[in-house]
Structure formats: C-alpha cells, structure tokens
C-alpha cells in the first residue's frame, strides 16, 4: 500500500515537473519572439514547411467534411422544413468549429509529427548541443520560428479548409440533392457574420501555438522519452497525442468563453 502511494506520488510529481518545464519552454520562446535578433530566414522556411506538408491532406479532408456535413444537415434541416438554410449551416459549422479543429488535427499528424522527429534527431545527434556550445540559444532557431510560422500558417490552412468544405457542401447540396445554387450561397452571406470568422481565426491561431509548442517541446526533450531512434519515435507519438488532446480541450474552452 505504501509502495503504491509512493509510486502514485512520484508519478504525480513527474507530471507536474513536465508541465512546469513545458510552461517555461513556452514562456522563454514567447520572450524570444519579441526580443531581437530575429531569424527571418528560418521563419519563411517553416511557413513553407507547414504549408507544403499539409496542403494536400487539408484539401482532401476539407472537401469530404463539407460533403458529409451537407448530407447530414440536409436531412436534419428538411425535418424542420428549413432545408434552404443548408448553405449557412454548413458554412457556420465549418468556419466556427470544424475548419479550425480538423485542419489543426491534420496539420498535427502531418507537420507536427515530422517537426518533433526533426528536432528529436537534432537532439540525439548533438546538433542542439552544438548550438548551445556556440553560446546560441537553440530555442531561437527551433521553437521561435515554428511558433510564429504556425500562427501564420494555421489560420490560412483553416481558411483553405473552410472554402474547400463549403464547395464540397455545394456539390452535394446543389448538384446531388437538387438545391438551387442561389439559395446555397445567398443565405450564407446573410447568416455568416464577422464574429464567426473571428472566432475561427482565434481558434486557429491558438491551435497553431499549441501544436508548434508541443511538437517542439517533445522533440527538444527527446532524451527523456528514451535514447536513440526509439526515443525519437516515442516522443513523436507523444507529441501527436498530446497536441490532439490539447486541441480538443482548448476548443471547448475557447468555444464556451467566447461564444
């Protein structure tokens, strides 16, 4: 019994320590974002990294999400006799919720995981040590450009997701289920407000911070998950799981606070 409590206690302390380290990691990165010298070269490379890695999968999943949404919502809305509102229903669901969340999950799987692996390999091959011993702060080269790049790339990719999804909904609603295309789009303009779009952007930006933060952190401390290639694969998995869970939890919070 005593042993059990001791194990429980050391686990809890370990978790707490990791959380503390994560917060310090983020705080230091955010500090370095505002304090020069800035490394714009790395920023542009990372924006391209997020964009090129994730664009295809965003297009694909975005289209299908819109199509599924249209089918599901069409039958629900028809029950209330308001199937004319299919356009805005699809658009609102995408812009406020599904676009930011699903695109963030996709980017996590695609770019976040390879980011963790890349930084993890830098750790085990002493590249991070090389930076440290050159008296340079590794975070300035690793987490800072990635957090900034994610804050820029996530809303853009979510916007692509929304547009493609709305078009997918259009294909199903108009071409398959026979709605008039005028109704689909004109009602949308009527119901989607700037506040909805802003909500989507806030979410995307914060997801960008979460994903880049968790991915960089897990890569940076790869040695603590294990050694060598195994450590890298473990921290990559952990990063994807943790980022995904945090995205969904944070989505609930921000959704219930900002409404």
């Amino acid at each position: 019994m005593e042993k059990f409590i001791r194990i429980l206690g050391s686990r809890a302390l370990g978790t707490l320590r990791t959380m503390g380290k994560m917060v310090i990691f983020l705080a230091e990165s955010l500090y370095l974002i505002v304090v020069p010298p800035f490394k714009f070269r790395y920023l542009f490379r990372q924006i391209r990294f997020f964009g090129t890695k994730s664009l295809m999968v965003i297009l694909l999943t975005g289209a299908f999400t819109g199509m599924v949404l249209a089918i599901q919502l069409f039958y629900t809305l028809r029950k209330f006799g308001s199937d004319a509102l299919l356009g805005p229903a699809v658009a609102l669901a995408l812009i406020r919720e599904l676009g930011p969340v699903l695109s963030a999950l996709m980017i996590t799987g695609r770019a976040g995981s390879s980011l963790t692996a890349e930084i993890g390999i830098m750790r085990i091959s002493e590249q991070i040590d090389a930076l440290t011993t050159m008296a340079l702060n590794p975070l300035r080269y690793l987490s800072v450009p990635n957090i900034l790049a994610a804050v820029i790339a996530f809303p853009l990719l979510a916007a692509v997701y929304d547009v493609i999804g709305i078009y997918g909904g259009y294909l199903v609603g108009v071409k398959l289920l026979g709605m008039s295309s005028g109704t689909y789009f004109s009602q949308m303009e009527h119901f989607v407000e700037m506040s909805d779009i802003r909500m989507g952007i806030y979410k995307s930006v914060s997801f960008g911070v979460i994903v880049s933060w968790v991915s960089c952190f897990k890569g940076f401390y790869t040695n603590e998950s294990g050694y060598g290639a195994e450590g890298v694969s473990k921290s990559t998995t952990e990063a994807v799981v943790m980022a995904s869970v945090l995205i969904l939890i944070w989505d609930y919070f921000i959704g219930s606070v900002l409404v």
């Binding site: 490379r45 890349e118 390999i121 830098m122 091959s125 002493e126 590249q127 040590d129 090389a130 440290t132 011993t133 050159m134 008296a135 340079l136």
Partner: protein
C-alpha cells in the same frame, strides 16, 4: 587554464567518472586516451558545460564553471570550439552554410568576407566540391572534416576534439593532425583531443592523459607515457604501438 577537480559522475548507479583530476595549461595540447566506453566523451561534455557532475568542480581561468550564470557560461563558450564525436552538423543546411554558420551568427563580417573565409576553411581541411551538398550526402570522414572546419572558423582559444580522426584513412589522418599542429602554431589555442590514434597522436600532443576506471591513471609528455611502468598504460600504449 582549465582545472578539473575530483570530478565524479554516474548514470543510474553506473560509475563512469570516479574522481578525475586534471589541469590543462593555456596553449597546451592535451590528448586524452583510454578504452572505448571509458568516459572520455562524458568528461569532455562536463568541460563544455553540457553535463553537471555529481561531485567535483571545473575551473576555467579560476572561475567555477558550475557556479556561472548562463551569460557568464556563454562568455566562456564564445572562446570554445568543439568537434563532436558524431560531427553534429546541421542537417538542414548545406556543408558551406554549416561551416560559415558561426560567422553568420556571431560576427558581422560582410558577405564577401564570409564567403572567403568559408572557402578557405574548407580548403584547409581538404574538401572541395562539396559546398552545396547536405551532411546526409557525404561520408562520415568528410563530415568529421567539415565539423573541424566549423570549429576552427572563429579562431577559438580553446578547442575540444572528440576523436577528430577516428574512421579516417591514414593520409587524411596525417593531414588532419598536421592541420591541428599548424593552426596551433599559428593561433596557439589550448587543445583537448580525445583520440584512439596511438602513436600518431603523440606527435600532436604536448601532454597525454590516460583515463581508466573513471580516473586519470597517468599523465605526462608523450615520452613519459611511452616509458610508463603502470601495466595498464603499458598494455594500452604498447598494444597500439606494436
């Protein structure tokens, strides 16, 4: 001057360093020899502040490295050049960008000077036509030489080499050793070289220290080490000489 005093370090109960004492004078080239897995790299990582000892201290020019703030430590590190055992080149950069990276990040030389110095540094280590390649596209021995060029480019006052020549052919090995000797003549840095190249390293080093069982069991000039009576040292040096 670097003084290592009673350094102890263990990993999960495995005692790697058990009281290392060592003094490295300015402008001296010291070779650290010892069996594989004996803790040479661990010792070096302590000297550059990447590991914290369980016990003991490291003094750099009289200042305790363990008590330094991050800023003070960085000041010390600004004078260091390090060749890691695994080269530690940046995967995402070309060979040339790797070599000039310290120049770009730590100096404000004009672009033309940077290009000049970078080209010269690569020539010095005998590398041509690999500028635009990435580390994954060149051999291990070439990486080692790139790492050497990167470590030397800021003309540091203290250079740590973790097996700079292991795995290189005899001709390159000799040219690297000659490069170390020549740059040392020119700039007079303090050098700490971990090496398995016995007896070749004796021509490079002013002093040789042997790490065995977590301690320095012998140290002295190459001639002293060669005529050392300690059976372990004798066997280690002799085995490689014959």
């Amino acid at each position: 001057m670097i003084q290592i005093i009673g350094l102890e370090k263990s990993f999960d109960g495995q005692k790697v360093l058990q009281g290392v004492n060592m003094t490295i004078a300015d402008r001296e080239v010291v070779a650290i020899i010892g069996e594989s897995g004996g803790g040479k790299t661990v010792l070096l990582r302590h000297m550059i502040g990447l590991m914290k000892p369980d016990k003991g201290s490291i003094m750099v020019d009289g200042a305790d490295m363990l008590k330094m703030s991050k800023g003070e430590l960085d000041k010390v590190r600004d004078r260091f050049g390090i060749v890691f055992q695994g080269s530690a080149l940046f995967d995402s950069m070309t060979i040339f960008e790797n070599v000039v990276f310290p120049l770009r990040e730590k100096t404000d030389y004009a672009e033309s000077d940077i290009l000049d110095k970078g080209r010269r540094a690569l020539e010095d280590v005998g590398l041509k036509g690999v500028d635009e390649k990435y580390p994954s596209e060149i051999s291990g021995g070439m990486k080692r030489r790139v790492a050497l060029a990167r470590a030397l480019i800021l003309e540091p006052t203290t250079i740590f080499f973790d097996e700079p020549t292991t795995g290189l052919d005899p001709i390159i090995l000799n040219s690297i050793h000659r490069l170390i000797i020549n740059t040392h003549k020119k700039y007079g840095f303090t050098g700490i070289i971990i090496s398995h190249e016995i007896p070749e390293i004796f021509a490079v080093a002013d002093k040789v220290a042997m790490l065995y069982g977590g301690r320095i069991v012998a140290s002295g000039t190459p001639d002293e080490i060669k005529s050392e009576n300690d059976p372990v040292v004798k066997q280690f040096v002799g085995a490689s000489c014959d």
